[in-house]
């Protein structure tokens, strides 16, 4: 789940002459959607951090934890816990 390619977001507002557009990245650790441009179309700096351990791009709050927790790994842990709880009848 490297999410290196970019998503796309736009706001269509009849009060504006043209849609507001932004590239997006899905954080490789928490899946938060990060907009890479502000509402004027200007690129936002400092909103992404490259994780040198898993190679994904992450949001700043995840980077500040200084831990590499890829979301794919979290998914596996959540599902393993779900299977365990189901097996013991909870």
């Amino acid at each position: 789940m490297g999410a290196r390619s970019r998503g796309y977001a736009r706001i269509v507002d009849p009060a504006l002459a043209k849609p507001q557009e932004s590239d997006t990245i899905t954080c490789g650790h928490c899946q938060k959607v990060v907009h890479l441009h502000d509402r004027t179309g200007k690129a936002r700096s400092g909103v992404l951090v490259h994780c040198h351990q898993c190679g994904s791009q992450t949001c700043v709050p995840c980077a500040e934890t200084a831990r590499c927790e890829p979301f794919e790994k979290k998914l596996d842990q959540i599902e393993a816990r779900g299977r365990l709880l189901a097996a013991i009848g909870i």
Binding site: M1, G2, A3, R4, S5, R6, G7, Y8, A9, R10, I11, V12, D13, P14, A15, T24, I25, T26, C30, Q31, K32, V33, F71, L75, I78, E79, R81, G82, A86
Partner: protein, 149 residues
């Protein structure tokens, strides 16, 4: 590549209740991935601010069921379930807001994920993502989601 589905969730917005959510069933769950989201209001034009939020949840809550529509008519019905206009909120996971969109009532927001950047829901019972919009009452809002399972 899994089957793709569309879900349309509507409600007269509330300051405290969700527009809708898409969740796993209690058994035979599978991962599902949101790759398109559209948020907006279809009421009479007015200037009202709203903060839309997509947040992970661990229960479906009490809701009106919505049937996901296959984008390919040849696909079987979805295993994943959906609902709108909650009367009892789902259990939201704290700090697991995946997308926040401050949006005027006049505007429409669309998001399309890059391949590999979809919002993924784990295959556990009742896990899902809910859509919240704390707007003033009497504003009719719609959220459209496309997902793959």
């Amino acid at each position: 590549m899994g089957a793709k589905f569309a879900v349309d969730m509507q409600r007269t917005a509330s300051l405290s209740l969700s527009v809708g959510n898409i969740t796993n069933p209690g058994a035979s769950q599978r991962r599902h991935r949101w790759f398109f989201v559209q948020l907006g209001a279809e009421g009479t034009v007015a200037d009202n601010p709203a903060l839309w939020a997509l947040q992970r949840c661990t229960t479906a809550g009490t809701r009106t069921a919505v049937t996901p529509i296959p984008l390919d008519p040849a696909d079987a019905a979805a295993v994943t379930t959906a609902g709108e206009a909650h009367t009892v909120e789902p259990t939201y996971t704290a700090n697991e807001i995946l997308l926040n969109v401050p949006l005027n009532q006049r505007a429409t927001y669309q998001w399309m994920a890059a391949p590999g950047g979809e919002l993924v829901v784990p295959a556990t019972a009742s896990a899902g993502i809910g859509i919240k919009t704390p707007t003033s009452g009497l504003v009719a809002v719609t959220a459209q989601v496309h997902f793959e399972e």
